[in-house]
């Protein structure tokens, strides 16, 4: 039981708990906050996985932008979401076992898979800055992911404009 394992277990527990709170808590704003906690946990997991950039990016994007957006949306639609009474629709009793079933199935599948490397491979590039550089080059190099990258940028612009257009109060 190394420190890493302990840290991971703690983080995982926190994130999963937070995730559960997200889907169960009555007040929407709370679920948003719990979501933030979950995202934080995930960010830490990235950190443990030596993906520092992703960790920070996770914080910037999810917590700095997406979560804020959510909170905004919650505030804007405050009148409509009565935070009292059940937050679940009438099929939650179907959904819950089904999700559990799926989880079981996934675990089973993982169990039936023989690909687990017994030990953590040493990171080929120990210099983390090197990793960042490499990631950047991978993202913009023609034989790398430049096309998806550009597509993503286009997608973002489209989403931006679309969001403005959709949410525009034409009155």
């Amino acid at each position: 039981m190394t420190i890493e394992k302990i840290i991971f277990l703690v983080i995982a527990a926190i994130s999963l708990g937070a995730a559960l709170m997200v889907v169960t808590s009555r007040k929407l704003i709370h679920s948003a906050l719990w979501l933030i906690l979950t995202l934080f946990g995930v960010a830490v997991v990235y950190g443990i996985l030596d993906a520092g950039f992703l960790a920070v990016a996770q914080v910037v994007i999810y917590i700095g932008a997406i979560a804020i957006l959510f909170i905004f949306a919650v505030m804007l639609t405050r009148r409509a979401n009565q935070d009292t009474g059940s937050q679940n629709n009438q099929y939650w009793w179907v959904a819950a076992p089904l999700s559990a079933l799926l989880f079981g199935g996934l675990v089973w599948m993982m169990g039936s898979w023989q690909g687990y490397s017994t030990e953590l491979p040493k990171l080929a590039l120990e210099a983390k800055s090197g990793m960042l550089k490499q990631l950047g080059q991978l993202l913009v190099s023609p034989d790398g992911y430049v096309l998806p990258f550009e597509l993503a940028s286009v997608l973002l612009v489209a989403a931006l404009i679309g969001a403005i257009w959709v949410a525009w109060d034409r009155k």
Binding site: N89, Y91, A95, L98, L101, L102, G105, L106, W108
Partner: protein
Amino acid sequence: MATNTLIWLLPIFPLLAFFAIVLFTNRNKALSHTIAIGAAFLSWLGSMIVFVRAIQGNLPFEKAIDWMPLGADKTTHFFIGVQVDQLTAVTLFFVAWTVLMIFLYSVGYHNFGQPKGDHDHPGLPPHGAKVPDAHGHVHAVPSIEPMYSRFFAFIALFAFGMYTLVVSDNLLTLFVGWEIMGLCSYLLIGFWYAKPSARAAAIKAFLTTRVGDVFMLLGIAYLYSETGSLSYKVIFNEHTLEKLAEPAGFLGMSIAGLIGLLLFIGTVGKSAQWPLHVWLPDAMEGPTPVSAMIHAATMVSAGVYMVIRMFPLISVGWHEGGSLTPTMTVMAIIGAGTALFAAVIAVGQNDIKRVLAYSTISQLGYMIAALGIGAYVAAAFHLVMHAFFKALLFLGSGSVIHGMEHGVLHTGDHAVDPQNMFNMGGLRNKMPVTFLTFTIGGLALSGFPLVTAGFWSKDEILADAFGNGYWLSFIVLALAALLTAFYTARQITLTFLGEPRTKEAAHAQETKWTMTLPLVVLAVFAVAAGWVGIPEGLTGGAIPNWFHEFVAGTLAEHLPVLEFNFLPMLLSMIIVLTGLTLGWWVYHGVKAGQPDPLAKPLGIFYTWMKNKFYFDELYDRLFVRPAYWLADTFTNKWMDRGVIDGTLHTISRAAYALGGVFRNYFDLPVVNGFGDMMGEGTKSFGHKFRAVQTGKIQQYMLSVLVFAVGILFYYLLSLLKP
């Protein structure tokens, strides 16, 4: 610039001008004619440069690109390209000059700068406009051509066609230029398309030349199938010609002869030789610059140019002084015949332009005849000279007409035909420049001895005929020369000398510089150009016969300059002078309203002359009416309506009945029944099951997930199985 590149560029400028005007500057008249004239000027400049470089030697310039891959293997190509040898050079020279001059002239001719007409509309010649001056007097002034830009676009295209034809190094591109000019002649002759006569003339010209072109195309195809190439280099080298020399098994002609004959028929159409000459006089319906363009600069010259170009092919199996090949005989006969015949008709014409038209025909006949008797250089020489003075004459006549129209506008009596020479007279005082230049042109045309260009060229032809002992053609051509001199004198006399026969003539007015400047320039050429071809024998070699030396270089075997002989020259001098004096003497005293003095003495023959020997009527009977009949009665009424439609109608009725049967006994009960059943079934099905679509998205996702999980577990369980 490299000469080859320059040559490529020559045709391009007018083409660009055409597109520019048609596409963009159509609205702006000034811009349009600036573009057109600019293009003409550029081409002129290029041509001059090419010409000068050509004179300096190292001919021919040629540049060809592989244009179209041939056959299964893509290695052999069809080459198209440009070529400038001596003949092309001189042709370029006169084409460039005349084209530029005509372009410039058109500006004045179409009354640029005048107000818009009061009741002009596109497709009709301008009727003139009424403008009040400072004192409130209303003056009738000529009005600007409504389709001014369009005109320049067309002649630009025309020039493009000519340049293409001249510089091309193979028969195909030559033919392309040829056809473009055919199109342009159609467009331009029918430029005032609202006039029925113009329409008719345009169609006539187009169809008539087409007849020739079909044969020409046949000739080209035959040539290609024989030699496998159309470029001059390949055709004119010795062993190709030898190969072509063997008999074709048709009237005992050689292959080359047959091809030459076919090509020559093309020329007959294009250069309006008998029997296809009928379109040319009617072509006078177009604006005068067009007439000049067609008769001097481009079209008819193109025909002759083509034959001259093809001379080595045509003259296969003929040697200097030898007996003529059948093709050449045909050419000689047709040429000489046309020369005389057209000259005769010309005498009987009163329309100033028609006279010139027929004189054109006859002069072309000269060239053809010259070629027919193997006078290669003489033909080329006469071609160039004729281009100059004929352009001059046409432009001059246009200027005269313009002056007359001015008079017509002044008097307002539109019944007076401003083209009829009997309405003119005494214009020499009214329009001196036109008078002088026109006279010079006329003298050149009639071949006034020793000074004019026409004399030298025509004399060379006559001398050739004489020297080689082709008596028949010599006599015929001499007669034609006489008549030429006669009707020229007649024309000048009727138009300029004597007293004005009408008020209009009295009020005629000199035209503006854009029209007179080209006249002057061309007049200079009409005189001076001839001096490059003075036979050495006359001057005892003091002045070298440069033209002969130069142009003869085109041919593979060198044509010897035949020894000089005074007799034909004296003869032609006498003939010309006689003709001129005769013409003047007959016509100098013609009063207003008096009929043609020749009418009485010649009698019936005069009417024949006047009606062009009824050729139009003959062709009308022979071809036009039958064609109409074939089209209307036979094809339309009998075949189309009767046979084809009848068949179709019966078939359709049968089909209709059959369809009815099908419909009532198969379609409605079976097919529709089935279809309706399906439709109804689907509808009711939908009604029953639409409850499933609740519009609640989570339900959908749930159902999806159920199946997804099901599949997942199916997969896992299948893993379990050994």
